[in-house]
Each structure stands twice: as C-alpha cells, then as structure tokens.
Chain length 543, copies 2
C-alpha cells in the first residue's frame, strides 16, 4: 500500500524528520526529504507520473520522460499514438495503417498502460478515476475518436490511479458547430479508425458504380435498379469541408488514388468523378502566405479539384430514394446555393476543434488543497482550475503548470497560484503568456518535450516552490514551418527561413516525416510502403 502523505502532518518517510523553518522545504509531492533522496536514488521509489492521453502531447511526453527517474503510467482510450501528418496517406492506401501507429506499450524503458477514459480527478487526494474501455466484443464497437459522448454499449469498470504528478494531455474533439447531420453522416479524419472507414467508403463507391447499367434481363420479370449516370456523378462526388492542411492533403491524396490507380480499373467512371473542398474562410491554407496558397490553388485547379471558399454548409442528410437508402448517398445544403442541394457520396469533415468533455468537467469542479502552511494547520480553501474564457481550455503558467483560482468565476485568475504537480499540455492547454498559440501537433509535441526535459532535470536540484520555477526554463514555441502535400508529387513548405514549392518541397515533406516521432520499425515501413505503392499501385481490397 503506497504511503500517502498526510495532508496535515508532513513527515519524511525515509528519515522521519519533520522539516522545520529554515530547512529545505519539501515540495508537496514527494514524501521524502531530499537529504534522504540524495543518499541513494535506487532505494527511493520513483515518482509516479500519470499521463492522460496518447496523442502528440501525451505520447511525446511519455517518450521523453526518463523512466529511470519516473514511473510512467499512461491512461488513454486508445492504446496507440497516431502520426497524424501521414494519416491522409493511409486513408487512400498510399501507406498502411500500422505504419503510422506507435503502440504505447512498446515505449522503451517500460510503461504501464490502462486503456480507458479519465472520468474525473480528485486533486486533493491526487487520484484519477478511470473507466475501462477495452471491452469491445465487436471490432468496431469502440466509439469514434471524435465523438464527444461515446455511446459505449456497456459501462466499463471503474478504478482509481494515484499519482505524484499528473499530466493532462487529453486533446480536443472535432467541432461540428451544431450543423445538422454532420456527426451522423460525415467522416472525420483524426484517427486510424476514421481513415479506414474513409478508405472502405471510397473504394466501395467505385465498386457500386461499376455494375452494368443496362438492365439486360431477358424475361423482363425481375426489376433491376441500375444507377443512372447522374446517380453515379452524385456518388462519385467527394466533398471535403475545411481548407486547412488536413482537408487539402486528403483531397490531394484522393486525387492521386483516383488518377494513379482507379483509372486503370474503372476507366469509364473517371470522367464522372469530382472532388470539391468547401471552406467558410476567404482563403484556404491560412498558415501559408498568399503566394504559396495561390500556388496550391493553381495546382488543384489543374488537377480538377474544385475549391469553394466562403461557402457555408448548413445541413447534411441522406439523399432521397435508392441513392441514399441503398447506396448511402448524401445531400448537402449550402447557404450560397439556396435551396438546391449538392449530392455527394462522401463528406469528410476536417475543420474546427472543441473542448474535450473531460476538460469541461474538470475545470468546473471544486477541490480543496493544502496551501502549504507549515504550521500544521491546513487551510482548505475551495479552488478551481483556471479556465480560458475564449476556448474553454485549462490555463497554465509559463512552466505548463495548471493555474488555479479561488474565485467562483474560474476564468478570472486573481493570484498566481498553481497546482505544482499538475501539468497541462497540447490542445487542451492555454498558456497565459501566449494565448494565441495555435492548436497544432508541433506546439503539442514541443510543449511535451520541453516539460519532460524539465522534469528529467528537476529531481537533482534543490527545490522550493520558488526554486522549481527558477530551475526550470519557461516554454517557448519555435515554429519549424508548415508542410502540406498537394498531390501529384508536389508540396509546399514555409518556415521563417525559407519557402519551397513543387517537387523540392515534396522531398522535404517526405524526408521530414521520417525523422519525427517515429519508431525504427515505421521509419523502415513507411518508405517500403511508398515504394510498393509507387511500383505496384495502391491496394484496393476491402475487408
């Protein structure tokens, strides 16, 4: 049974000393004094760091944290990390799904993993309650990665996990702005399950449209329902909502699949295919400057990909008749087109983020903490996590520690108080000194790497609550630039140093991905798949 520090009387578990005034004050999280600790690192139980999440922030942090200094426990509904920049490639078969996954359990140095949803956190007792979700008798019974209220068939068992330090890296969900029909009928592209569903759907649409159109029945007694050419144009219309890198890259990859592989197998269908990207902004690819964005648009225009900026989707529904009922066709209402709906076979939704419901729940909860008084009398004030007014994320200081407040309105931080043992990184974090940091993989992984490195250092220093900050460096984001693939072996790249376009950028695009956050296994498999797809074509089997 772990020895839990008694919030009232703090005693070193090793040497039984009670730190008095003037002596080295101990951080609340370690129940041993540092003189004992420095004697033998090996004899001391490692601190237990619980990480919520296995995305860019959670996985990068877990990977960088030193396992000899800390016990790493990862809690996530998903047992693997997804290398998202290559996700669009897997959704059409240029790469296979497993080449972009990194199982959490395979982290070098050993990690404990529990598959489940973090339900709630008790910051006073330093316990996370987890709901297990590995119970999935049907292969696809796991909730979609982007559903805010995963409807699980059974409530999993609950269990508690104690922590010394907690890292909240739960990420964000896809935002559908309440538009009717999106969550039911559109496909997201944030996890491998999403990519797999998209891949199956695209290939299935081509197969469905390839049946003979002429009824060709001799006795006239059996009714057949061949697809008309207009129906086929509807089903082979691929709509992408969101002109950011995800949407643009998916459009590009889809174009490659159709014109490199499907053209040979369904030649009569290719003239009927359309790809359209809709975005409400006046310009797609907002993180690129105008010149590069224009280059991208010209490239798309040559490839036949339509880009409709300043178009607003209002509703998605199942199309009328057999087109919808038998073939899954959709009808989309777009504000700029009035009443006339647009038909499509597939809608991919790749825009907008909203807060994770875990975050919403945890910022609202009050908890009592020991305010660190040495007199032995605790003041158990009610605190809350500080919430960012605009996005709903958790506010952190420059060291990525969660900020707390005593006020009822948790969005106003009256003091500089932090929970020194709770950290927040990634999409769900808002740094108070730089609230405009974008919600990207780069930011998340840099924050995670920085935090892990500070923690790797800190066990050696002689900390006080002030000293922890002094020993640590504040986080500073460095923009390494953006890369986006445009299809047809061309890409664009922009950073503060340079701009690249065309095939040179494509080489950088492919090279850059090999060096980041990938295991050796996938560093090998990704080029193998690129080669195999190039020589033999993409695999088109559906199972």
């Amino acid at each position: 049974m772990r020895h839990m520090p008694n919030p009232r009387v703090f005693t070193c578990s090793l040497c039984r000393a009670k730190p008095g005034r003037g002596q080295t004050r101990l951080p609340r999280i370690i129940n041993s004094c540092y003189s004992s600790l420095s004697k033998s690192n090996k004899d001391v139980r490692r601190q237990r760091v619980v990480i919520l999440g296995s995305g860019w922030a959670g996985y990068t942090f877990s990977r960088t944290l030193d396992p000899s200094k800390y016990e790493r426990i990862v809690i996530s509904p998903r047992s693997y990390f997804v290398f998202t920049p290559l996700l669009a490639s897997t959704s059409v078969g240029t790469l296979e799904f497993r080449a972009v996954l990194e199982p959490v359990r395979r982290l070098p140095g050993g990690v404990r993993f529990h598959q489940g949803w973090a339900d709630e956190v008790d910051f006073s007792r330093k316990v996370v309650r987890v709901e297990a979700n590995a119970v999935d008798p049907l292969p696809d019974a796991m909730p979609p990665s982007t559903s805010p209220n995963p409807s699980q068939p059974l409530r999993g068992e609950l269990f508690d996990v104690e922590y010394d330090k907690l890292v909240i890296a739960v990420g964000a969900y896809s935002q559908t702005f309440g538009i009717q029909g999106v969550r039911e009928h559109a496909h997201f592209l944030r996890d491998v399950g999403d990519a797999r569903r998209i891949r199956l759907r695209v290939l299935s649409l081509f197969e469905q449209c390839s049946y003979p159109t002429r009824p060709d029945n001799k006795d006239g007694s059996i009714a057949t329902n061949p697809l008309s050419e207009e129906d086929k144009r509807s089903l082979l219309h691929f709509v992408i909502v969101g002109g950011g890198p995800t949407g643009i890259e998916f459009a590009a990859e889809l174009h490659d699949l159709i014109h490199e592989d499907l053209k040979a197998m369904y030649p009569e269908l290719i003239p009927l295919v359309r790809i359209t990207v809709y975005d409400i902004a006046p310009k797609v690819l907002p993180m690129f400057d105008q010149a590069l964005a224009n280059y991208a648009m010209e490239h798309f225009a040559r490839q036949g990909i339509q880009v409709r900026t300043e178009h607003h989707l209002e509703r998605v529904r199942v199309a009328d008749g057999d087109l919808g009922r038998a073939h899954g066709g959709l009808s989309i209402k777009i504000k700029e087109y009035g009443e006339k709906e647009v038909n499509a076979g597939l809608v991919v939704w790749s825009t907008g983020l909203m807060q994770n419901p875990f975050v919403e729940q945890v910022v609202g909860k009050e908890f009592a903490i020991n305010d660190g008084s040495e007199s032995g009398q605790s003041k158990t004030d009610q605190h809350r996590l500080l919430k960012d007014q605009k996005t709903g994320g958790i506010v952190t200081d420059r060291y990525l520690r969660a900020r707390i407040t005593k006020d009822h309105d948790s969005s106003i931080g009256a003091t500089d108080a932090v929970l020194p043992d709770v950290f927040v990184i990634g999409d769900c974090a808002v740094m108070e000194n730089d609230r405009s940091l974008p919600k990207t993989a780069q930011v998340a992984s840099q924050q995670a790497g920085h935090l892990a490195k500070q923690l790797n250092k800190s066990i050696q220093t002689s900390p006080t609550p002030t000293d922890v900050s002094n020993a640590w460096k504040p986080f500073k984001f460095r923009n390494w630039g953006t890369l986006t693939y445009l299809g047809g072996w061309k890409a664009i790249h922009q950073s503060s140093a340079d701009e690249l376009r065309g095939w040179v950028a494509w080489i950088v695009w492919r090279g850059a991905y090999l060096t980041r956050s990938m295991s050796v296994r996938n560093k090998l498999m990704v080029p193998v798949y690129w080669f195999v797809s190039w020589v033999f074509g993409r695999d088109i089997s559906r199972f």
Copy 2:
C-alpha cells in the same frame, strides 16, 4: 447487342453458311464456323468465359486462362483471392492482411469483375443472374464469408451476364453440424475478415485482463468489478475446434504471438493462458503419417498446447454473468466432460465443409437443352446437373465438364451426357472417376490450372463434341505433399518423395509459399513482414 445463336437454326454469323452433313460440325457455343475463325483470329470476338468464384479454383483458373483468346468475366462476392496457407499468420499479426490478398481486378491482361452472388443459372439461354453486393455502407456490414444465408441489409440489384463458357468454382461453406451456438459465437478462419476479427479479439482479451485487480478506491462508494483470477483464466483460454492443418497452424501461430510478443507486455497474464485443440477424430493431422503426427503432438506438448482428440463439442453459449455479458466469455459443453462446461474467451471453428447453397439450388433445377440434332428440330428434354449423392457436389467427367442427366433422380447418371460449355472445379466439384479427391487448395488449383490450359489449347483444334475430348487431356491430380507449421520455428512436411521435420521443414514451408499463386508485390511484402515481425515484434494495435 450480342448475337445469340438461335437454338433452332444454326447459322455461322460470319460466312452465313449452314453446316450440312459431313461438314465440320460446330460446337454449340461458337456462333461462327471454324473456316471463318481461322481466317482472322483478331476479327473474331473472343469467347466470353464467366467464372463464378475467386478462391483457389476460380482465381487460379482466371489467372491461367489466356486473355487474348478469351474474355474473362469474374463474378464473386469477394473482390480478391486469399492465399489461405498464410491466413493463420495474419490472424496473429505475423503478416499483414494485404500481403495474402490478390485483387481480382489486378489480373494481368485485364478482366471484368462484378462483385455479387450468383443467384441462378439458365443453362438453356446461357445466362447467369447475379445479385450485386458491393453496397456496404458499414465497413463490417458484409456477411461473413462462411454464412450460408448472408443476411444482407438490402437486396442488391440484379443483373444478368451472358456466357459462352461457364466455370463454376463457388467453393464450399464451413459446416457446423447444426451444433448450437457455433455460428453465433465461434470464429471461422477462411477469409481475411475472419482473421481480422480473431486478431482483434485475442488482443482485446489481453487488454481486458490487464486492468488492476485491486479495487483501490478510497471512498468505497463506487462499485468496481475487477476480474478474478479464475475469470482471467477463462478469458485467456483459447479453444480451437478441428485438428486439421488450419486449426493446428492457428494454434501454433497463436502460441508464437503469446510467447514472443505478449509476454513482454502482459507478463503477469502469461501463466494464466491456455490453448486447447479439440477434435472428434482419434488423431489430428490425418493427412500425415503417424510418426509425423506424433512429432507434432510432442512439439505441442512441450509448448503447452493441449490436444484433446475424441472430444465432441455439443454446445457453445455465452457464459453467465459479467464474464459473458461484459467480456464476451463463452461456455462450451463437451460430451466427454458431462455437465461441467469449459469456459473460453475465444472459440475458433476450423473443421468441416458443407455445400454452397448456390450449388444446392443449381443441381435441383431443370433446364432444356438442344441435344444437337442437325435436322433443325430441337428436342427440348428436361435435364438436370448430376449431383453427387454423398457430398451434394456437382459431378464432372474426366475433363471437368458438368455431367447432366435426364432422370428425375439427378444422382443417377444414365448417360454420359455433359454440358460441354459448363465446367466445375474446386470444392464444389466431384469427379466421377475419382470421387475420393480431397477438398483442398492443391486439388482446386491443379484442376483450375489444367482446365485453363486445355481451354487455351482448344481454340486451335478442329473440334467436334468427340474431338474436344480427344484433344483435351483428362485431369490427373499430383500430390505435392503437405506442409504444416507447428510454431516455434518448426514445421512438418510430407510428400511421396520425402518427409521433413523441424527447422528444415520450416525453411521449406516458408520457401514454398513464396512461389505459388502470389503476385510480385506479395512475394516482396511477405518476407518484409516476416523480417519486421522477427526484429520488431508483431504489431498489437487494435482499430
């Protein structure tokens, strides 16, 4: 519109001659006389060969048939061929699924493919009616490969396909002997979808059993339901029914997965794992002689795999309580154990074949054929396909042509009549001169290759119904021997030439598979996956 020969008046479509007595008689299937044909092969429309099935028989036939001589049209509910000897490897992740698939549409020389079920055949008019089944809005909505009555959510559209020659290669279904609960709860292993479901289930069971057992909740108010050790032993009991090569290889691969990969990730669970193979026969691996079979059994015994011969399953049901309801555990009733049931987490059913319902339906149907009279008066007698009494398959002659009979009892063949343009190969065929041919991939692929080669030859000869037979060679099966993998890098091989066991057989096992029925792409990918699994371990992510 294709010119269909008028069954009453036979006229060459090219030279308009009416063949008189003594002139070269034309086979019924070609509507041109051979003098016209020989003038220019290119000007003549290729004969249309429709192949029902994409398994060992159907795919091997399609692959071997010369596309310059024949138009190949493949109809199958599955758009790819599965290289079944390596299927067990994919069910645990030693290989990936796509490395054992060959898409039909990628056959060199071009092939037309329609995804659907052959509903019925009109042998008089030479038309196959097909029900389309590519409509699959949900990824896993396609019926399991082994279900005799696939419950499709929607009836697909129907269309007809005309043929000059028909090759029936629809294969067989898994036989469950009417045992209660098998079709609902057991897993089959005949297609990639099956392998994928097994893989997800095995990995999910380990994940489910890895949650902390100690409730560890401090306030005592939330009930938790941790699995007891006995429950874990139940869930980690893997049962295989059927001691033939499929079942034995799966047990071997499963053992490798557990002891090579899962041991590192779930060390505390490994002592609770059991693998048991049940078979009703007194001996497993019946195609091997006793010495090799014993070697296999000793090898399994050393590995801890239990083999229970002469055990009969009587029922499979969902286990009581949370074990069944929440975790999918099963309870199995075995005759030899009386009332006490055996619990398991997974049951793999790999035994027994039954006739395809298409075959059952097509052997029962009467049809009228022109008996070849030259006088212009047709005699339209009612015929049926000849059915094998014992297995229900379609009887063929030595040239793999479907035998027909006029008798009401279609199992008695009074004449030597055949349908000269209908061939039957693979599991659904029974050769009248060798009714004991086993139902194996070797037999199916040899029959298919033989038939295709004869057809490739036959267009040059001067055929009469008698001459066709003379020009063609009868089929003769050559037993290349059997290979079975036993796990732990050991195998057994037996042929008329030699016997091998141990690692030498393992090398032969791996080498043999590379040379057969595989595209270049997979000949590359299979060794790549073997290497990657060996160096980095099998991938264990579930999605």
